[in-house]
């Protein structure tokens, strides 16, 4: 009805977090996940997705910056019908580091 007056957005921290998602493999899954982040203006720094086992499932790796909203973000992701599991790793996880070669 009327404009919102909210506290300023919390600044993103600088610690990196790696999220590992098990999801159903079909054409809409990525859009469901990316939408959640985009809607909250939460930048996804890195994204990687490959089918696993028989191709009915995929694994998605996301690289994000730690920020106050991350916990809420993860809970929203967990709520998605096609997301089976979310695991959280610290910046030390090497999945994105090993890909560096493709980006230089």
């Amino acid at each position: 009805m009327i404009e919102q007056v909210a506290d300023p957005l919390p600044q993103a921290g600088c610690a990196k977090v790696v999220l590992e998602l098990d999801v159903n493999n079909h054409p809409g899954v990525m859009s469901h996940i990316c939408n959640l982040f985009a809607r909250r203006a939460f930048n996804v720094e890195g994204i990687l997705c490959m089918p696993v086992s028989d191709g009915r499932r995929s694994r998605i790796w996301l690289l994000v910056y730690e920020d106050q909203r991350l916990e809420q973000m993860v809970r929203q992701v967990e709520k998605l019908e096609d997301v089976l599991n979310v695991r959280r790793h610290g910046a030390e996880h090497e999945v994105f580091e090993r890909l560096e070669g493709f980006f230089h």
Binding site: I2, Q4, S31
Partner: protein, 555 residues
């Protein structure tokens, strides 16, 4: 073993799911399904005059019955016209299954005639959505859609069905089982015990009920908890009716247009027991200053609501009904005389005021007169604006699902089609729709549907010839610069009703408005009751947007 088209299969699956009434509007891409529906002996189709109307009719049926209801539309503009009703259902957690036709799969992505990516459009406003790729998939997708819509926190699910899927032939050996809701999450008994301890130890607890209590069918348990622990109880807009308004422990609705004493009681609380509510900004004002002295127990079926706005000291991810059942034997009977007398004193000093409540030509008086002419069986729907808030404040709601309003999205145009849905779902009840002149004009075409269906629905039009709530905000917060909120001309609503074949009365012209009103409400069938409302009447108290709930203006 039967051979069916995808469309026939969908109809069969809906029948098996118990669907008996569908609201919709046909178009090319959904015609195979309409053809299948025409052969159904169990499903009745209600033809809306605009797809948004169909969406809200399904909502009305769902809000009254508590089970998922269905609306259908064609591809392209038919589908986009449903978007507002879907978003509204999503924000208010209303179970709904939306079926849209789509262009044939081979044409998807070519900008074919009436092609829109309704799947993509509805990603953020549905609980889940599907684009069906084969008739075979329907066997799984349709029951899944119902399961998802009704499990956990309810919500809308969209199924987009390309035309070639609807016409594809499939041999069905066996129909899938009828979908049921998922079992409730495992109760964390330790958390329940911690919550009970906090309630038992609290001196100034307040019970804060949200729409989740209504969805979970837990209203009577919540009242029982309140009575056992002598807990003053406040309700959100969505929870009105969960506890009878005249219950001695009810402190009414909280928030932006709550009574002064209600918000002041919350300010004093040392424990807030939030059940199925989500700390919406219209309810709690500035979050940091809400219940500054209270510890928080938060019970919700949606885990992502816990700690979202306010950190809870005890957070319980549970079905509200299960949680209350477990809590009840652990909460000690208490009198809390000092606290209740403090609440009573705040109520005496800062009561909700209803100026003009005895004058049926004033806004509160009209609402009270309508309530007096009806009993608790009546269903009350509203549109959005000042009239909505006045009804929320003044109507004596006494049972859950008595009250249908657009809470989260605040959608003008919600009232009439939702009330039609309510009347379809509860043909033996009287349904009243309080509307404003601005809102009424947003789905006025559904008067035609109303007459066609001959429903027992009374529209009470509170006409201030203005977008009243906007006018009010401009008066209070924009230096009285009233811009684009007053209409420069006024349609003749009685004539419009007449044109649609809806009997109408004008209370302005009635010698005895109370008698005229009562007579109109008692007469079965549709009726428009027109009443002029003073444009300078505002909704008070009012918490300015972004302010703390204690910074109320007026009232």
């Amino acid at each position: 073993m039967v051979q069916l088209t995808g469309a026939q299969l969908m109809a069969r699956l809906l029948e098996r799911q118990g669907v008996r009434t569908i609201a919709g509007l046909p178009g090319g891409a959904i015609l195979p399904f309409y053809d299948a529906l025409s052969a159904s002996e169990r499903i009745r189709h209600v033809l809306a005059r605009h797809e948004q109307g169909a969406g809200f009719m399904a909502q009305g049926m769902a809000r009254v019955s508590g089970v998922p209801q269905v609306c259908i539309a064609s591809s392209g503009p038919g589908a986009t016209n449903l978007v507002t009703a879907i978003a509204d259902a999503c924000l208010d957690s209303i179970p709904m299954v939306v079926i849209t036709g789509q262009v044939p799969q081979a044409m998807i992505g070519t900008d074919a005639f009436q092609e829109v990516d309704i799947y993509g459009i509805t990603v953020p406003i549905t609980k889940h959505n599907f684009l069906v790729r084969s008739a075979q998939e329907l066997l799984e997708v349709v029951p899944e859609a119902f399961r998802i819509a009704m499990s956990g926190r309810p919500g809308p699910v969209l199924i987009d069905v390309p035309k070639d899927v609807q016409t594809q032939l499939i041999t069905v050996d066996e129909f899938p089982p009828v979908a049921v809701a998922d079992p409730a999450p495992q109760l964390d008994i330790a958390a329940i015990e911690a919550a009970a301890r906090m309630i038992n130890e609290a001196e100034r607890p307040v019970l804060y009920l949200g729409g989740g209590v209504v969805h979970a069918g837990a209203a009577s348990l919540a009242v029982q908890l309140a009575e056992q622990g002598s807990l003053p109880t406040t309700m959100t807009l969505m929870a009105l009716g969960a506890m009878p308004m005249d219950h001695p422990l009810s402190i009414g609705m909280l928030g932006m247009h709550g009574a002064r004493y209600t918000n002041l009681v919350l300010e004093e609380a040392d424990l807030l027991i939030c059940v199925g509510a989500r700390f919406d900004d219209r309810a709690i004002g500035r979050a940091a200053q809400f219940c500054p002295n209270a510890r928080i127990v938060h019970i919700d079926i949606d885990r992502s609501e816990l700690h979202k706005i306010k950190n809870a000291h005890v957070a319980i991810h549970a079905d509200v009904k299960c949680a209350l059942e477990a809590l009840l034997p652990r909460v000690k009977a208490a009198l809390r005389a000092p606290w209740l007398s403090q609440v009573a004193s705040l109520k005496t000093r800062f009561p909700m005021q209803f100026p003009g409540e005895d004058d049926p030509r004033s806004h509160y008086g009209l609402i009270r007169a309508v309530a007096s002419a009806l009993d608790d069986d009546a269903i009350v729907a509203t549109d959005v604006g000042q009239h909505q808030m006045w009804v929320a404040q003044a109507y004596p709601f006494r049972r859950p699902r008595q009250w249908l309003t657009s809470g989260g999205l605040g959608t003008m145009g919600f009232g009439l089609p939702t009330a039609i849905g309510a009347a379809l779902a509860a043909p033996d009840r009287t349904v009243v729709c309080f509307t404003g002149d601005g809102s009424f004009k947003m789905n006025i075409q559904e008067l035609d549907t109303l007459v066609e269906e001959g429903l027992n629905l009374k529209i009470v039009l509170m006409n201030n010839n203005a977008l009243g709530l906007v006018y009010q905000q401009q008066a209070l917060f924009y230096g009285k610069r009233q811009f684009a909120s007053e209409y420069r001309r006024e349609p003749d609503f009685v004539k419009i009703a007449d044109g649609f074949g809806v009997p109408a009365i004008d209370l302005d012209l009635a010698d005895d408005p109370v008698a005229a009103l009562a007579e109109a409400l008692q007469r079965p069938g549709p009726c428009l009751i027109h009443a002029t409302i003073d444009r300078e009447e505002f909704v008070y108290p009012m918490v300015p947007p972004g302010a703390a709930n204690t910074e109320m203006i007026g009232g």
